[in-house]
């Protein structure tokens, strides 16, 4: 494997190896550009993954300290775990469920479509669906998304069958096993899904797309990509002209290293990316890099989420098979007659017994709780995921006292639900329960949001510099060779699981960076 010198100032340094960083890094290498990916986590391969929820959580999750504030329930239930995301090569593409959905046209222009929503900091994206369509098509092909490119859908498991029957019984039409980046049959050198379950714990067969094994190795084969695991980024440095020059990180022994760079692509997710920018403050950029207008860290979004579990009088065994191969799209449109703007998706979901005990109703005890778990075998589950309102005060900031092992402030994630989020969640809970009631549920449980998996928006994309952090290419409005390549660039969140859009944007950005480098503009 190629190794680049830390003094080589001609390399592009990518921070993070997930859906954004793993794709940008791989694509740049495929275009012949020398690239170093710095990844905070270790490199675990598919054979290292563990079919055990807590052991896998210890292996893959980002458990470095983070803090929370605000009225969201996660702050009470999981005060130091605002997000359930990954610290490992492949980032959260090791953990994700595989749901791959395109944004709807109106979701790129929410301000124009929804109008003035009090307390919401809506803004139209500087790009449209039309701009992204070719890249969605490329992303679907490279990821092998089912129901695109002639790839057949996944078969429905027990959990899906209950979900589908209930959905149709209450009149939903657009119900199927999803557009999933999980092979329904062998493709791209990876096998078809073996219905293992444990999608969240890393797919041991590699049937689910992940940058870890579906992208990064292709980049490494070119000899242009070096992935450096256990490289925890501390700050990005710049010169007198305000261009970034390199990245300072702690290696696996905690030793501080400095990798020079021609271009930096930041893809540490919507919590670490703004934290790195804020921690990179200097006399020239006293409020952090790219933060002259004060937007870095703001408009943190996490999607309106919740779950509904239903208990039946006979077994379902929802844990068997693909976790999220099931979707109802009938509520995804914008239709304000429901009492809220934006829409939501309903998707099958299952948790194993250990996580069900932890997440069904955190903090609850006594028989009303344990009789639900007694019926675990007879349970079906779904996840509700919808567009949440960006709010300026929902924010990733530097905590005033808590510091990491290197003495840098940890991230604080502040979040309050917007009234629109609450109205949407209540609607979704009601619909979810109705679905299970329609197939004879004896009890249903509206389950509160888990720690965030869809972290978005803290370095938002905007047409005008005063409205955001990056432009339509994900390029910093003020630092020409600094790019942001992850979900933090989302201007607004849409209601779709974000990975496909992150990959499409990263593919598009890699093309742009290569073009600008060829032209000598960066």
């Amino acid at each position: 494997m190629v190794k680049f010198s830390k003094d080589d100032s001609s390399v592009v340094v990518v921070i993070g190896s997930g859906a954004g960083g793993g794709v940008v890094g791989t694509d740049l290498a495929l275009k012949g550009i020398k690239t170093v990916i710095l990844e905070a986590g270790k490199r675990h391969e598919t054979h290292d993954f563990i079919n055990d929820e807590w052991d896998s959580f210890s292996q893959l999750a980002w458990t470095d300290q983070r803090m929370t504030s605000g009225s969201w329930r996660v702050a009470k239930d999981f005060p130091q775990l605002p997000a359930w995301i990954v610290k490992s090569v492949g980032g959260s593409t090791t953990h994700w469920a595989g749901a791959s959905l395109r944004f709807q046209e109106h979701e790129f222009k929410t301000k124009s479509t929804y109008g003035n929503v009090q307390g919401a900091n809506l803004l139209d994206w500087p790009i449209t669906l039309k701009d992204l369509e070719p890249y969605y098509a490329k992303a679907e092909d490279r990821m092998g998304v089912t129901r695109t490119n002639g790839i057949k859908g996944l078969p429905g498991n027990n959990n899906f069958k209950v979900f589908e029957k209930g959905a149709k019984a209450i009149g939903y039409k657009d119900v199927h096993t999803g557009t999933m980046a999980i092979n329904s049959e062998e493709r791209d050198g990876r096998p078809g899904c073996q219905q293992v379950g444990f999608c969240f714990q890393g797919c041991k067969f590699g049937a689910k797309w992940s940058t870890l094994y579906a992208e990064i190795p292709k980049g490494e084969e070119t000899g242009k990509l070096e992935v450096r695991p256990e490289s925890y980024v501390l700050k990005i440095e710049h010169d007198k002209t305000g261009k970034v020059t390199g990245v300072v990180y702690a290696d696996k022994d905690g030793k501080v290293q400095r990798q020079k760079a021609r271009v930096v692509c930041l893809a540490g997710n919507s919590i670490e990316s703004p934290r790195i920018l804020l921690n990179s403050h200097s006399s020239m950029f006293p409020d952090g890099l790219g933060n002259s207008y004060g937007h870095v860290g703001r408009n943190y979004m996490r999607h309106m989420t919740g779950s509904v579990y239903g208990i039946f009088d006979k077994p379902v065994r929802m844990w068997r098979g693909t976790v999220m191969a099931g979707i109802i799209k009938d509520e995804a449109m914008h239709n304000s007659s429901r009492g809220f703007v934006g829409g939501y998706e309903m998707e099958t979901l299952s948790l194993g017994l250990p996580f069900m005990a932890a997440f069904l109703n955190p903090g609850a005890w006594g028989r009303s709780f344990t009789t639900a778990l007694d019926a675990y075998e007879n349970m079906a589950g779904m996840w509700l995921v919808g567009e949440d309102m960006p709010q300026e005060t929902n924010r990733v900031s530097l905590h005033s006292t808590a510091k990491d092992a290197h003495g840098l402030p940890v991230a604080n994630v502040h979040f309050d639900d917007h009234p629109n989020d609450i109205a949407m969640r209540n609607h979704a809970y009601k619909q979810g329960s109705a679905i299970y009631d329609a197939v004879g549920a004896v009890r249903t449980f509206p389950t509160p949001p888990y720690p965030s998996t869809h972290n978005l928006g803290t370095n938002r994309m905007s047409e005008k510099p005063r409205d955001g952090v990056v432009n339509k290419w994900g390029r910093s409005h003020e630092i020409p060779n600094l790019f942001v390549s992850d979900g933090s660039v989302f201007t607004t969140g849409g209601c779709e699981n974000p990975t496909l859009t992150i990959v499409a944007l990263a593919t598009r950005q890699a093309e742009y960076i290569a073009d600008q480098m060829n032209k000598g503009n960066i």
């Binding site: 055990d52 498991n157 073996q194 379902v316 844990w319 068997r320 007694d374």
Partner: protein
């Protein structure tokens, strides 16, 4: 603080001489060990008093009551608390619980016959650090015991069996 309540002293003396079944958990204290004659297991306590451990086990069952789970699963979950640095918190918390219990029911917590009466006491202490620590620890202490999983029907790891593609991922037959 260190002074024993007279009823407790009396009970301890009695236990030492004859050993008795304490409370609904039907666990016998013998020296520094807890013994379940019904389930044929014993648990040696190193730091906590055996009375404290038997109270913890009863509390655990009352916090997460599953009639299908034998006492030993709760006992295993409580072993985490047999540590020198937790001794004071736990024993102090139990003292408070028993004081409440004595006031209201005229007996120690473990000797109350009805679950509803015991949980009414737990509700009064549910915001205390001792209760919160116990409840939080039980979430993994009970539900992450692999031996418990089959009792709920959960099948655990499936990769080594080739997943469920040929083992019933879509075998639901009652819809």
């Amino acid at each position: 603080m260190g002074e024993q309540q007279p009823p407790k002293l009396t009970r301890r003396d009695f236990i030492a001489s004859s050993s008795i079944a304490v409370g609904a958990a039907a666990i016998v204290i013998s020296g520094s060990a807890l013994v379940s004659t019904k389930e044929s297991w014993g648990l040696e306590v190193k730091h906590l008093s055996p009375e404290a451990m038997s109270t913890l086990i009863q509390m655990s069952r009352d916090i997460y009551p599953h009639d299908r789970l034998a006492d030993r699963y709760y006992a295993i979950a409580c072993k985490n608390f047999d540590k020198p640095d937790l001794k004071e918190t736990i024993e102090e918390g139990i003292k408070i619980l028993n004081k409440l219990s004595q006031t209201q029911f005229g007996t120690d917590y473990v000797n109350i016959g009805w679950e509803a009466e015991r949980t009414s006491l737990l509700e009064k202490i549910q915001t205390t650090p001792m209760f919160q620590a116990l409840r939080g620890s039980l979430v993994t202490g009970i539900y992450n015991q692999k031996e418990v999983w089959p009792l709920f029907g959960y099948q655990g790891a499936s990769f080594e069996h080739g997943g469920y593609i040929d083992r019933g991922f879509d075998d639901i037959d009652w819809l």
